[in-house]
Amino acid sequence: MSMPLTMPVEAAPDLAWPAKRLAEVNEALSHYPNKRSAVLPVLWVAQREWGWVSPAALKLVARTVDLPEPEVFGIATFYTMFNLKPVGRHHLQVCMTLSCSIMGSDRLFKHLEAKLGIGHGETTADGRFTLRRVECLAACGGGPCMQVNFDYHENLDEAKVDALLEKLK
């Protein structure tokens, strides 16, 4: 896990939703009988806008759904998909669970580590790639698989991964 274990205490600057995102936030809020239920959708809007959930974004989300900041921090850290620190443009998430492991994800992950010179949870110096081991992605029949951001790539091997990385600028 690459999540911080304690909540950042330094005063975060005030952020506001850009107009387009404000519409998404209001749409999300309209789906539930209370604001609290919108905490995950609104955290997603923040991550879509800024690429990660910064302390300032956390503060904004808390204000938007009317919850204390530590509560939103506790929720954001419970789930694995919110980036509480910046990630690269291409977030390589390699499935390591059994089906993919039998089909070679361990070797694939080592290959990526060697090729990119980074380990689990790390980002290349140019900000292009972040590499992570993840648990089952529901693509077991296409193992080994990985998600790059939200895109699925299945039946991978070293050559396919190399060709893919070339395309991800």
Binding site: V39, V65, I75, M103, E135, L137, A138, Y152
Partner: protein, 435 residues
């Protein structure tokens, strides 16, 4: 039309552009609501689904009509229908294909199910990784609303049903229904005590039904053709079809829809084309990583709820994981145990601590430092999680390990006596087998 891949849910799954409401309706979609809403009593709908014998396809196999029947008829509180589309059970990837290709069948199934017990709001809870499926479903929901199948007055019958998608954010535990509801309410996704069951006190403490995606997709077919028609497939106690997700080194992995009761060996040898060349099957996990494995000698077991229980395992979610003879069973179970250790929500001690200690013992065995008593210790720790944890996640971590020790004890012992695996530890079957 493309060749049908299965008798029911997969009959038209590969129709080009089935995601569009026009294509879906040309194939007969959305006819049932017009014949049911305002024309059949909700109780009649529940009775038909009860008579069909439809059982939950998410893992537990609970009778769907009975679950709906638990919802109080007279309730001052609103009622909710929640589709469990979290699909996080390792080995399972059926709902992903169903929703990706046929989103309107889910919407139609939810509309009819909501009518049966009087829910006016529905949510589809998707695992966080399914963002692209959320986009497909949201588009389909917009189309259905524009065509009058969703909204305050569906088909001008006076019945209202609003439907929304909700994206999780990466937590296996949210597939457990009460954890899912906590997550949907905006809390950490941790399970709640049952009873009260969701049918009485679920989402926002209101009566709620949580059904799996595949279960809900069977509903329009059952209401269209009747309970007896549905029973032409499957067994007396497990009627209908089941979609099995097959993974591992078989020639043709993927999703297969079969009549329940089909022997597992037939699925693997005929539909999946058998093992990749030069490989033999050692064991198969038939229902997702939470269930005990079956050794190769037991592959004639039928793919239905009862036969799997009789064989000491479960049909579960239908995630069929094939383990080949060169994969180390101890290593495979360590992989599964690490998964549960990672995904334990931390709420209860047996699961949180137990999965950690199991993982430690596995690491010791695999590193060649295993002690003679470690195998019994592993069994003992599992036994102290089983039935003693807050929710089924603990059981899911314990059962596969206990099953593996039962069937492959000599492979565990080999790690202790020889300080190495019984087989050549070779992860990465694709290295040799892709040719």
């Amino acid at each position: 039309m493309s060749t049908p891949r299965g008798p029911l849910l997969f009959a038209d799954i590969d129709t080009p552009n089935l995601v569009s409401i026009d294509t879906y309706r040309r194939g007969g979609g959305y006819q049932v609501p017009g014949d049911v809403l305002g024309k059949k009593q909700p109780d009649e709908v529940i009775e038909i689904v009860k008579a069909s014998g439809l059982r939950g396809r998410g893992g537990a196999g609970f009778p769907t009509g009975m679950k709906w029947g638990f919802v109080p008829k007279q309730s001052p509180k609103p009622k909710y229908l929640v589709c469990n589309a979290d699909e996080s059970e390792p080995g399972t990837f059926k709902d992903r294909e169903l929703m990706e290709k046929n989103p309107h069948l889910l919407i139609e199934g939810m509309l009819l199910s909501a009518y049966a017990f009087g829910a006016h709001t529905g949510y589809i809870y998707l695992r966080g990784e399914f963002e692209y499926i959320q986009r497909i479903l949201d588009r389909a929901i917009d189309e259905a609303r524009a065509a009058g199948f969703l909204g305050d007055d569906v088909l001008k019958t006076g019945f209202g049903f609003q439907l929304y998608t909700h994206l999780g954010a990466g937590a296996y535990i949210c597939g457990e229904e009460t954890a899912l509801l906590s997550s949907l309410e905006g809390y950490r996704g941790q399970p709640r005590l049952k009873p009260p069951f969701p049918a009485v006190e679920g989402l926002y403490s209101c009566p709620t039904v949580v059904n799996n995606t595949e279960t809900l997709m069977n509903v329009p077919h059952i209401l269209k053709h009747g309970a007896q028609w549905f029973r032409q497939w499957g067994t007396e106690k497990s009627p209908g079809t089941k979609i099995l997700s097959v993974s591992g080194p078989v020639k043709r992995p993927g999703n297969y829809e079969v009549s329940m009761g089909l022997p597992l060996s037939k699925l693997l040898n005929e539909q999946c084309g058998g093992m990749r060349d030069g490989m033999k099957v050692k064991a198969v996990i038939p229902g997702g990583s939470s269930v005990p494995l079956l050794p190769a000698s037991m592959l004639d077991t039928g793919l239905d709820f009862e036969s799997m229980v009789a064989a000491g395992t479960l049909l579960g979610s239908g995630g069929v994981i094939v383990i080949d003879d060169q994969t180390c069973i101890v290593d495979a179970l360590w992989n599964i145990t690490r998964f549960y250790e990672h995904e334990s929500c931390g709420k209860c001690t047996p699961c949180r601590e137990g999965t950690y200690w199991m993982s430690e013992v596995f690491e010791r065995l695999e590193a060649g430092h295993g002690r003679e008593k470690d195998i019994d210790l592993l069994y003992d720790v599992s036994d102290n999680i089983l039935g003693k944890s807050f929710c089924a996640l603990g059981d899911a971590a314990a059962m596969p390990v206990m099953g593996a020790i039962k069937h492959f004890r000599e492979e565990f012992e080999h790690h202790v006596t020889h300080k190495r695996c019984l087989v050549n530890r070779r992860r990465g079957a694709f290295e040799e087998a892709t040719a």
